[in-house]
Subunit: 395 residues, 2 copies
């Protein structure tokens, strides 16, 4: 029908072809009221026939607004961000906005550049998904007059607070990770504390009485999940329980740290992992030590990343409402409210797969045929509750 054109079709050509003025075409296309039905139809028809595409640049120049929503993500690929992005995109569309993505690769330099790009592009609102711990980008965004929403900003926490929760009285720990910059920022976060409790209570409900926690890095979410673990156990009068610390973030290191811990334990045991990747480390450690999952060891993760369904066995996990987090961030930042920006916290929900089971369950009595396999007897049993050294160790 129509050949590819090298030159853009402008509003003038549409107007000429339809026998009306450019103003009329513009009004029809922007949906302004007060245009005759006949002309409207005619204009729409010729615009379509000529393959007319309004120039976003000209429109923005004239309008001084872009309906663009700047979104900074660390990477588009880790599965977690991807699902948050889905929520952002869908809700932005509902508001008549289009997300403009900027991939920061976790580099501070690129994060700073993102703000410049957004400024040049007349981006109107600003959303940041899991930014780096340093608040530089948020500071810069706020300084340049942006409304900002942050999804799961996870600032660093001093190691001392972790000790307080593990061994101290754990009082007055209601607020963590407060930061001066937060005052002008809408924070949307996952209920990390509740997730820790949910995971722990799940194991308690399954009859587990001996539990352990695999701690995450020194960030807020890590602290809160640990606290949730403690709270749930305190409510059941089962506190304290051991906390495994693997400061080396490499999978194999964490796996070995957990295996080291398992060697001093007896089944059945329940593990609440900081996140799904930690849970994977636990699954591998179990394999290493000959513990069967879930017969000897139940493992719960947190986050429910897409891969949780693919672990072996499938990982029970407390799911973050990822698209909802993104959608809420859009709502807040577009509302442009002048209320003091209170952090919004969304609840997680438990997704039960095959990595957790009731302790009363017979060792080989599952529905799935599974070869018998001797559990390795615990070895020393000593030094359970003494941190061996600074570094990978057990509390």
């Amino acid at each position: 029908m129509s050949a590819p054109v090298n030159k853009r079709v402008t509003i003038r050509e549409v107007a000429a072809a339809a026998g009306v003025s450019t103003a009329t075409v513009s009004r029809v296309l922007t949906g302004e009221p007060g245009i005759g039905a006949a002309t409207t139809a005619s204009v729409l028809e010729t615009a379509r026939r000529l393959q007319y595409r309004p120039s976003a640049a000209a429109r923005r120049l004239r309008t001084r607004s872009s309906s663009l929503l700047g979104v900074v993500v660390q990477s588009l690929g880790d599965g977690y961000v991807g699902e948050v992005v889905l929520g952002i995109q869908s809700r932005a569309r509902d508001h008549g906005f289009r997300p403009l993505f900027f991939v920061s690769e976790g580099q501070t330099r690129l994060e700073a550049e993102a703000v410049d790009v957004f400024l040049s592009e007349q981006v109107q609102e600003f959303i940041c998904v899991s930014p780096t711990q340093k608040p530089h980008i948020l500071r810069k965004a706020v300084d340049n007059g942006f409304h900002v929403s942050v999804v799961n900003w996870d600032p660093n926490i001093s190691a001392g607070l972790f000790d307080d929760i593990e061994r101290g009285s754990a009082k007055n720990t209601a607020r963590f990770g407060s930061h001066s910059v937060e005052k002008s920022i809408w924070e949307v976060k996952f209920d990390d504390l509740g997730a820790g409790m949910l995971a722990t209570n799940h194991l308690l409900a399954l009859g587990h009485r001996k539990l352990a926690h695999v701690r995450g890095p020194n960030v807020r979410s890590s602290l809160l999940r640990l606290l949730g673990f403690r709270r749930a156990l305190e409510a059941a009068s089962l506190w304290p329980q051991p906390v495994v610390v693997a400061e080396d973030p490499v999978l194999e290191a964490r796996e070995l740290a957990i295996a080291d811990f398992l060697r001093r334990q007896h089944p059945p045991l329940g593990i609440v992992a900081y996140d799904d990747l930690s849970a994977v480390a636990a699954l591998r450690a179990a394999n290493l030590e000959g513990w069967r999952v879930p017969e000897d060891l139940s493992v719960v993760g947190i986050d429910d990343i897409p891969f949780a369904a693919y672990t072996n066995p499938g990982l029970t996990s407390v799911a973050q409402p990822k698209p909802e987090l993104g959608a809420l961030a859009v709502d807040l930042v577009l509302a442009g409210s002048d209320e003091p920006p209170l952090p919004r916290v969304l609840d997680g929900h438990l997704v039960v797969r095959q990595s957790t089971a009731s302790v009363s369950r017979k060792p080989d009595g599952g529905a799935i045929r599974r070869p018998s396999r001797k559990a390795v007897p615990a070895t020393t049993g000593a030094a359970d509750r003494t941190r061996s050294r600074r570094g990978n160790g057990v509390t």
Copy 2:
């Protein structure tokens, strides 16, 4: 120092403050030659002082070019796309371009919309990562005059061709998935055939003589990987070997289909899986049937998605050069060459982890302490090479 401004700083204000004309400011900022060093410095200084940001919209309107590179990606669940995107972004930057991402969620409707958006935004070049099988979006992009690069376009293939390779002579199968649209498109693809051979040869080198392939869906990559499996075995005079077909793409269904197959086999066995997710299904099936990996069963995946490092045990896989695929797509589409667009094929490389081992390896002789576990003896051993029915079955 400077308060956040509500109104944009324009080039005129910079010119006034620097005591020069707007033309001079423009020339300095765009890096045009022929401006005095003194004025250049002065302009740069005042621009910085006033926090001047050139308006991308005005620039594009005037220049009629945007240095924008439209990138359409599918949903981002498996981390694969994320790594390709990294390569795209980095190389685009080298060329002075900025990627404009559009997430299609795999929906044809959104893919079509992407073209419209890119047209409105004056996007200059077009890259599509793993589009849906339907070539609608490519057709539309080409019709609108875009130069197009496609990374790993995986068109549907008729089931008959698979039968040819599995049971036929496998001649004249050099070209698959040709499509009329391809003529005006730069295709960048992974060497699926070579990957299938690489994976198979790896198992052969480990001493495996009894192999099997887990087939993928009816798409080109699936066909080529199967062909690679066959070619490598033919070269070793070991063809034919069984091919497991699980048409239901759900993980559990594939797991059961593979378990069903294993039940008729004896260890040691080597499995070349269509992709890493299929390999995961094989790992889980092995667990179900009591086969130890890698002592009884070696499993190789293809793609090397990020999660491959987290499976239990870690998955040996043929890695796609993901960033390089993205980078090459950028180079090709920006070259604007008039040469006939020949498809470019990039090689994979083997990443050895713990899911494969030599068949001569003693069952429990690994470096890692692993509890002994009896291999389940094969049951019937019959009907190995007869497809049971249409659907999940074994060839």
